[in-house]
């Protein structure tokens, strides 16, 4: 989990450096500060479990085991990107790691994750699905419809709210009449819990329990992870100059850095040595530089690619199927 969180942090910091150079143009919503949520939850999942992400997608992609080269190339909107340069930062997917997509429509993937869970239960698979969403999602009707449906059908899905206290520019108290998001599960007879989203071990433990419940047919859980994004809603800067939040607030959360918290624990308990720490940092930075090199050297999609992929080409119909041409 330490390596994963560090990978997300360093990847995002590198993206933040590249954005002002315009090498990366696609709007990036950075995950710096929230690493423990994606990492804790995805560490408790199996490869066959699905997760759905949001516009703030990089952390989930990396935490679920996605390839950094494919991710960086997508941010460069190159043909070698995970979405062939057609999705950009807000639409990353990697079907082989169980990330079938991320949506930039607030709350958009919540019912989709429930639908995957419905399919898993119909197929009698021992798998679960997870919807990650921000604190903006409970402003949308789809959040409530989906919680109701998932609880009604006892679906193996876990709803993970990353509450970073801001919905774009607005503090959450200006958006929700009751800011206790976890309590909204009560209306649907579903367990809801609020946790420290910067404490990766707590996120892991709570997610593990919810996942076990889902797997054993007990239905969904809503987990509200309290966390904070260090940068602005979108882009590389902290946006303090825009007057939307205070320096004190940012400092408070930077002192609660999820990576530092775990690092301290690992060093103090002798689980990781200082030398190992340095080696991990070096390896992570090297992997990220390789991804940048790969993205830079990759080709852009060609003009011919523009009209491709609107539809999936028709698969061959089994010869046993009876086809009659309508003549009348």
């Amino acid at each position: 989990m330490y390596v994963t969180m560090l990978k997300i942090r360093k990847f995002e910091e590198r993206v933040a450096e590249l954005l002002p150079t315009k090498e990366i143009i696609t709007p990036c919503h950075l995950y710096i500060g929230e690493e423990a949520v994606a990492t804790g939850v995805c560490s408790a999942l199996k490869k066959d479990d699905y997760v759905f992400s949001t516009h703030r997608s990089h952390g989930h992609f990396i935490a679920k085991g996605g390839d950094l080269k494919a991710l960086m190339a997508e941010l460069y909107c190159k043909k070698t990107g995970c979405s062939k340069g057609k999705g950009g930062s807000m639409h990353v997917a990697s079907s082989d790691i169980g990330l079938p997509g991320s949506s930039a429509i607030v709350g958009g993937t919540i019912p989709i994750a429930a639908g995957v869970a419905l399919a898993f239960s119909m197929q009698k698979k021992d798998a679960v699905s997870v919807a990650f969403f921000g604190d903006g999602a409970p402003h949308e009707g789809i959040f409530y419809e989906s919680l109701n449906f998932a609880s009604l059908k006892k679906l193996p899905v876990i709803f993970v709210c990353e509450n970073n206290l801001y919905c774009t520019h607005l503090p959450i108290a200006a958006c929700l009449a009751d800011t206790n998001i976890y309590k909204k599960s009560e209306a649907f007879g579903m367990p809801g819990i609020r946790i420290d989203g910067n404490n990766v071990m707590q996120v892991y433990e709570v997610a593990k329990k919810a996942i076990e419940d889902a797997r054993s047919g007990k239905g969904p859980t809503l987990i509200e992870c309290m966390t904070y994004r260090w940068r602005g809603h979108v882009g590389p800067y902290d946006d303090l100059d825009k007057g939307l939040r205070s320096r004190e607030e940012l400092d408070y959360w930077m002192n609660k850095c999820p990576i530092k918290m775990l690092e301290r624990f690992l060093l103090e308990h002798g689980i990781m040595s200082e030398l190992e720490r340095e080696q991990i940092h070096k390896a992570v930075l090297e992997e990220i530089e390789e991804s940048v090199k790969f993205a830079r050297e990759s080709p852009y999609p060609g003009e011919n690619d523009l009209l491709n992929d609107v539809f999936k080409p028709h698969r061959r119909v089994k010869s046993s199927r009876h086809i009659i041409e309508a003549k009348r």
Partner: protein, 326 residues
Amino acid sequence: MRKISYAEAINEALNQIIEKDNRVFLIGQGVTSPWYVGSTTVGLIDRFSSRRIIDTPTSENCVTGVALGAALAGMHPIVCYPRMDFMYYAMDQIANHIANWHYMFGGQLSAPITLWAIINRGGEQAAQHSQATHAIFMHIPGLKVVMPSTPYDAKGFLAASVEEDNPVVFVDDRWLYQHVGEVPEELYSVPIGRGAVRREGEDVTVTATSYMVHEAIKASESLDKEGIDVEVLDLRSLKPLDESLLLTSVKKTGRLIVVDGGWKTCGVAAEISARIAENEVFRTLRAPAIRVSLPDTPAPASSALEKVYYPDAEKIILAVRKILEM
């Protein structure tokens, strides 16, 4: 060949498709109701159980998203919307998610979903229980749209929609449910993307969709008695559209009347007219094209107004006479 009704053809198709393909399930409001969707789903719940025939809360947007998720996990859901009007609630999942999913992720994952959209109008049901919004779906990249007019096509297009690896909006019309026609007992599919000539003629091309095909045929039979020879095209598949069938017919007759049960502005009739206007065949037209469609007005309740509102054979006859005088 055996004759059954349009509603029976849909019921039979659903029975056979669900029986044959274990990826398929039916989900939506009213699918276990004996009346909500006519008789189209009668008996399905008893045969396939609530595991594969899932009646739902009204939550149209959620149910549509659930269908997308299930499709991404290897299923092929058929989502039932008892009225097209209710689909506006689901537009986010349809337009932002389902339609974009294949393209947005570079073709990694497709969304094989059949969106079964039912037009249910007349009977003084007014503006929110009468709409035919097929043109809106035709406008959105990533969706295919079919509108069968016969029991044969209803069954065959439903099977073809489920064979597709893409989202298909399958639009039917409750006014067609009692219409009887020849339907093979075995399962077959009608290829999406091809129109059909319902009546050959030399003087005027009349294109129509769904219920309006029958009004066009009625008009052509009446005009035949006056010695006017009308060719009736059933577009059937709105997207992709069988443009070559359209162009061939218009080249032959030199006159085009486009009949559609949707609104006039930016509707199917507008699109068909534009296809002709963009083509060389435009130079051979002997008269300007005429659109016979709904006026740009919400559906009224009063049956006195409904009678004026909906296009019918009489309005098509008037249009044909007009185009021949031009």
